[in-house]
């Protein structure tokens, strides 16, 4: 039964938790990819003699980057559509935070008990990505336009995998409420479905988070900084903040939909963290082992590999729905 006071308290509490966990995830991502590349990466414990100047730990390095960006001057280009250019980072952040509210955290159902919460959460995630496309388009920079176009194409094909994977689980479990999915018991067939659907979802996550073979929207150095070329100061900081919430939201959604019951009870919290770090390990391994695809190759890969996985996935889901 929903307790209104607990829900309100948890809704307020989840935002700092999501921010903290997102920052930790990003730190883990950066540290791990540094270790893969024979580097040290942002330091967990700073050298003794440098501590007074450089701080004791860099565990919150992504947060420091964001805070620094908030302390800098913001440049708005003359040629940009100013209203859209300035407002879209904030709208993107707003939708990412709203999506976080619909994704359960161990011990906190939040709004995921609401009817159709799976559909609402996926729409909010789409809206957030949409505003990371609209802002750059309004900036008037050719690099941002190229980046945004690639982002649109990648978003369309990765969305296919995302929808097919999430909704096959919804078909098999006969519910569109995330909380009910994340509480449900596991059977052999549902576990099998989780494997195929989870692989689909990981592929979709790679596109949404711009993990290496699919980082062509940002394509550092090739098209300057892609969509973010013209952004600076507070607006860029807001986009980086959006990325933090997005990472948390996608990892949280993955765990609650494909690894029930890890996101249901507070007792599962340690395992929830371990599962999140495992997912990040997989994503980092993909990131460091791959070069960048061209957008054409990425679309081909998505359509060919996803098509096969999606068919297998769909057959299992329908079998569970009709037979079991």
């Amino acid at each position: 039964m929903i307790d209104p006071i607990f829900t309100i308290v948890s809704l307020v509490l989840i935002i700092p938790i999501a921010l903290f966990l997102g920052v930790i995830y990003q730190y883990f991502f950066r540290k791990l990819s540094a270790r893969f590349q024979w580097r040290v990466g942002p330091m967990l414990r700073m050298y003794g003699d440098l501590k007074p100047l450089l701080g004791t730990t860099r565990l919150l390095q992504p947060l420091y980057d964001i805070l620094k960006l908030f302390g800098k001057k913001t440049v708005v280009p003359e040629v940009s559509r100013k209203k859209l250019f300035v407002s879209s980072p904030y709208l993107s952040l707003l939708f990412a935070i709203l999506a976080v509210l619909f994704i359960p955290f161990p011990g906190m159902p939040l709004l995921s008990e609401a009817p159709y919460s799976l559909i609402i959460a996926s729409y909010l995630l789409i809206a957030s990505i949409l505003f990371t496309i609209l802002g750059p388009v309004a900036s008037g920079s050719p690099w941002a336009a190229i980046g945004a176009r690639r982002e649109v194409e990648l978003f369309l094909v990765s969305e296919l995998g995302f929808v097919l994977s999430v909704f096959s689980v919804a078909i098999a479990r006969q519910t569109l409420v995330i909380w009910e999915i994340s509480k449900g018991e596991q059977t052999l067939y549902l576990a099998l479905l989780s494997v195929t659907a989870g692989a689909l979802m990981l592929a979709a996550m790679m596109g949404k988070l711009h993990i290496k073979p699919f980082d062509m929207p940002e394509a550092e150095a090739e098209i300057v900084a892609g969509p973010y070329t013209e952004y600076s100061g507070k607006l860029l900081g807001t986009y980086y903040l959006t990325k933090v919430f997005m990472l948390y939201a996608l990892v949280g959604l993955f765990i609650s939909v494909f690894l029930p019951p890890l996101a249901s009870s507070i007792l599962w919290l340690p395992l929830y963290i371990v599962a999140a770090l495992l997912i990040l390990f997989l994503l980092t391994a993909v990131q460091v082992l791959n070069p960048r695809y061209r957008i054409k190759n990425a679309i081909n890969w998505y359509l060919k590999v996803l098509a096969i996985l999606a068919v297998v996935n769909f057959v299992i889901a329908v079998y569970i729905w009709l037979v079991l």
């Binding site: 580097r39 390095q61 980057d65 908030f70 302390g71 800098k72 300057v224 013209e230």
Partner: protein
Amino acid sequence: MGIIDKARIYSPWLYHLHCGGCNGCDIETLAALAPRFDVERFGIQLVPSPRHADILLTTGCVPKQFIPMVKRIYEQVPDPKVVVAVGSCACGGSLFYDDAPENYAILGSPDLLIPVDVYVPGCAPKPEAIINGVVQGILKLAEKASKKE
């Protein structure tokens, strides 16, 4: 010192501006960013757009054709910012700089166009020297930011 001032010291982002030169300093700069010296330990990152940068790292002397670009890229870096000039050419023109007769193609060091805060001499400077220069730049950055407030 506020949290934002601390964050400024903790995460300086570099933009590498190659004005024109022999590429020697650029190789050393990239060596400073590569795994052996790995400046990401201290949060220093190379960014692809000058709008994201805190520290503008210039190498080489400026050809006359490149004058508008240098000025424009300097203006694109949002405040507070610091310029670090790496190498003998960027510090004073080196062998490309002549008083009379004037060189027809090359203006000289970038400090004739933009205010340079830190000079790292050497032809080419070692990666350790470049990292030391960047650290001096970070300290200047913190100083500039606190003066403005």
